[in-house]
Subunit: 596 residues, 2 copies
């Protein structure tokens, strides 16, 4: 089925339902960062396979909306004869609809795929121009998507307390107390990560994100109704694992459960930005009182307990050995003939193979960014969206990758010399690493938000008139999503205080368009610091254990404190990794961690 015929099929359905437009967002019903293949409706209708965006189909035209990361990619993937291209942020599709449609028009949307917040806002904006937003019953794509992938049916995993560090009962009772304090009868949970955290379960429903997809209702008593594919729990006793007050039902029963809450006139709390409009509609139409607040699992989930932190340390020890073996192999490979037989793809595969040698490794935590030379200047580069670039022609190589282990999630970027880096590359690498070190060395009192620390990582670049156009640090889960909130280190970042157990990345970078790209990324966990002072302060403990490439350094751009930090870090890496390595790998590590 061509994209043209797909669009026509959707237009036929639109006509039958009296719709002048239909919105196809990237999101699925959980509104999370990752979606499974069977939810790739935007890709099905348009061919665009990026991680964010939307398409809008009208009777006589269609448009696809993507953000700055995808303005090039969308031109490769979407036929201009079928789609206009617009910028998702600068030219939002609601504006486009308002410009294209006449008063009295009807815009169809699937309320499961949009947040309650979006729905309220879009409805009001369109209504002001006398355009009606119409929830469709059954997605107009699904009825025409005949070769739609079947949802994964890989079994769920009951995560042992040896990994989770806290029983579900304790987690649930803690959050239920906050519900009781707010006179909330039930909390609707719609994102996979908080549900999997709350019940100490995991799954393989989505690549890179080890979750069971589902919905849950957490009641004021602490009881949880989980709505998920029950087949995945076959042979597993969720109630023995979680407690008798945790029940499992098929996803199809969620609607009835919401209706029951409504009929009871319950006060139901949901996060308007992550709960879908469908559930909010069901609840409010059935008579529930909606209370809007951030998902109360997010903050406790972000603050890892000591068992989770220990697990993360162990995962990073393993991951550090794998990445170091890869870097040792790469240096060796560059000494061999015909380096051009390797490319970004084979390098990524090789790195994955080193990780897979560890039995605790489950899967990558995201798609590896393996980028040579100018490709590294594209922050969200993926070598599969074109021809992978061959080794041997560039000076530097950037590799951003991570692993999911049963005891933790890793995310590391190293930028390494694979040719002859020039003075400017070395200057910029050194400035980036200097910013990384300044942030890594930070200490700060309770109440400090990531927004207050972000400038530390940028200042060395700012001093010389450079910057990088992404956040400095994101939260990282524990054998969960490699991106999690609410903490964040960013100029647009949050004032959520950084506190004990939060894991954040520290990843300043520099990107020279059509030239090269640099990023230095470690994960670090917030811990209380030991001082002789008057007030308690926090510091970062670095989790990641892989040498930085000192061949890319120009020490003239460092102060003594940076050299001290780097030598100390390399000393730690040597002590921690050397027992795991041998032969050439060990020799490589010895020279890579030698003090400056």
């Amino acid at each position: 089925m061509t994209h043209a015929s797909r669009i026509n099929a959707v237009r036929n359905s639109m006509t039958q339902q009296g719709l002048n437009a239909f919105i196809v967002p990237h999101d699925d019903e959980h509104l999370g960062e990752y979606i499974p293949p069977y939810a790739e409706r935007l890709n099905w209708i348009s061919g665009f396979n990026g991680s964010a965006g939307a398409a809008v189909v009208l009777a006589d035209k269609a448009a696809v909306f993507v953000d700055g990361r995808y303005t090039v990619q969308v031109r490769h993937q979407c036929d201009p004869a079928l789609f206009e291209y617009h910028h998702l942020i600068a030219e939002p599709y609601l504006d486009w609809l308002l410009a294209e449609l006449a008063p009295g028009s009807r815009v169809g949307f699937d309320p499961r795929l949009h947040s309650h917040h979006w729905h309220r806002n879009a409805e009001a904006r369109l209504a002001a121009s006398n355009i009606m937003l119409v929830p469709v019953d059954g997605n107009l794509i699904d009825s025409h998507w005949h070769d739609r992938p079947v949802p994964a049916s890989r079994p769920a995993l009951l995560l042992d307390q040896e990994y989770s560090g806290q029983h579900s009962e304790a987690k649930r009772s803690r959050i239920a107390d906050t519900l009781a304090a707010g006179k909330i009868d039930a909390q609707l949970l719609t994102q996979a990560e908080p549900i999997n955290w709350l019940l100490n379960i995991r799954g393989r429903d989505i690549d890179c994100l080890p979750v069971v997809l589902g919905f849950a209702l957490l009641h004021r008593s602490g009881a949880v109704q989980l709505f998920a594919d029950t087949d995945k729990f076959e042979g597993l006793d969720l109630q023995v694992h979680c407690g008798q007050d945790v029940t499992l039902a098929p996803v199809g029963e969620l609607e009835a459960a919401l209706q029951t809450l409504g009929e009871q006139g319950a006060r139901v709390q949901l996060d308007p930005h992550t709960a879908n409009a469908w559930s909010a509609l069901i609840l409010s139409q059935a008579g529930a009182e909606l209370v809007f607040a951030e998902d109360p699992c997010m903050l406790p989930k972000a603050c890892k307990n000591p068992v989770e932190v220990n697990g993360s340390r162990a995962a990073h020890l393993r991951d550090g050995a794998a990445v170091s073996r890869f870097l040792a192999w790469l240096d060796n490979r560059l000494q061999q003939p015909n380096p051009e037989q390797e490319d970004e793809g084979t390098l990524a595969d090789r790195l994955a193979a080193f990780r897979r040698q560890h039995p605790e490794f489950v899967e990558p935590s995201f798609n590896t960014i393996s980028a040579l030379g100018p490709n590294a200047a594209m922050c969200h580069y993926h070598h599969d969206n074109g021809t992978p670039r061959a080794l041997g022609q560039d000076a530097i190589y950037l590799v951003d990758s991570g692993g999911q282990y049963l005891d933790g999630t890793t995310d590391i970027t190293r930028t390494v010399a694979v040719g002859r880096p020039d003075d400017e590359m070395r200057k910029l690498f050194t400035l980036v690493l200097r910013g990384h070190i300044d942030l890594a060395c930070a200490r700060f009192p309770a109440g400090t938000g990531g927004l207050q620390l972000d400038a530390l990582a940028r200042m060395p670049l700012w001093q010389q008139g450079y910057n990088f156009d992404h956040g400095t640090g994101h939260g990282v889960g524990h054998y969960l999503s490699v991106h999690e909130g609410p903490q964040r280190i960013s100029p647009k970042g949050s004032m959520i205080p950084l506190t004990t157990g939060m894991i954040v990345s520290n990843e300043p970078g520099y990107y020279r368009e059509d030239g090269f790209g640099i990023r230095c990324e470690n994960l670090q966990v917030v811990q209380p610091a030991d001082t002789d002072g008057e007030i308690p302060v926090f510091e970062f403990e670095t989790l990641t254990l892989v040498p930085f490439d000192t061949r890319l350094l120009d020490v003239d751009w460092l102060e003594p404190k940076h050299v001290r930090w780097l030598n100390q870090y390399h000393q730690t890496v040597w002590e921690q990794l050397s027992p795991q390595l041998s032969g050439d790998d060990l020799a490589w590590l010895e020279q890579a961690t030698r003090p400056l």
Copy 2:
């Protein structure tokens, strides 16, 4: 008249007007930071003379509300037989009123002395308990205050363009354009600083704040109606100075002007946090449409033009010579017998005398904080609120002072050795100065707010487990208020981008209760920096020119970059000040600016 009899007199008026309570805020009708003596109603009723607070009088009791700076002072100044004490922030007086008063009670307030925002909020909160907020006609204090000071009648000054750098016409037309763009008919201006800035006038209505008090209406055409004491403009031609479309009328005519706007159904913009409730009531009752926004003069006023920046440089050159002469004198005085004959008061007077030697000096820009030993640990110490402490018994002395000059406003804190500072004092002084230097060295791209830079000044203290409990930097006016917004460098600070021409203080500190206090403060102006990089960045140019006391340094706590900065700064101070000094003062400066 005793405070008891004053309270009784107010209670009699309350009975006559059927009021169960009357609120006496510190503010005057302009709701600015400083008030003139005739507006010290809170002091008249309670004896409390701090710079913020409120009293509430009920039929049978009264209470005074002050913030953390004044919890000690209020106990010295207010009779506990007459007043309960409460914390202004932690126990707000609205909460107290709600707890004390029965439903049906009537609370009197003078709508000229409260913001529109306060009024709306207080009215709603009290109404929820069936308590009525009643605007009184004529303040209940004023009718009993028989020896009330007469408003100052010192003449206004028309500030020459040689000082202001921009004609009022240009300023008015620029802001009028923004009004036109917002379809606003007129902007109500109620604070003294924006009005004086807009019309390039100054005055002597309040000590330390060189303004003519008044109100103004800026019309969409750019025309301004100024409402002020016309006597102050006798012999001055405001229209020749400002333009024909600037008219002057007595303050009493403001009400009629607001009513006229109302009758025309005008859209009138005001800042709900700084415009008083009285003007908003008049306008809306007369039929005006109120539009709420920040005062549009604040941002352009904060961004000094090149003439103002040059003026500030000149003012700081003069001020630096005066402060340096004082520090030279102080060092010399400590070598003479009987240092105890000097105290915090005589030191402050001596410093003022050095400033007064400059003919361009107008007045101090705030009350000098002259604090020896433990007194310096109180951030808002004033030696007149007790017995000034004598010189000779302490190790360090903190002096925070500033001057108003026709071409600029200064604000400087130096902490100097006046005895034998111990290792801990030197460690903490060095950490404070190091933070000062790290902030002074910052460069940052457009869009960076003070909140993002604040941590730079605190990090050296944070590293060792210390902090200070005030903002790092405030805006400073040009021959105007020593405190101005909207920019600010603070952990609670603003994300208003720092940009060319903004003057901010850089004043980290450290305070050891009952021990000592340290603060290192320079003013600095934001300027474009010159780099070889890719993006424009700003930097700070330091305006203040006075040596830091290197006898208080422990260089082990500095990195080489701090030593380089300090030597460079002292070199500049020497080059700039030495031509103004001679004899012992010059010899003092030579040794005080010697490289480390």
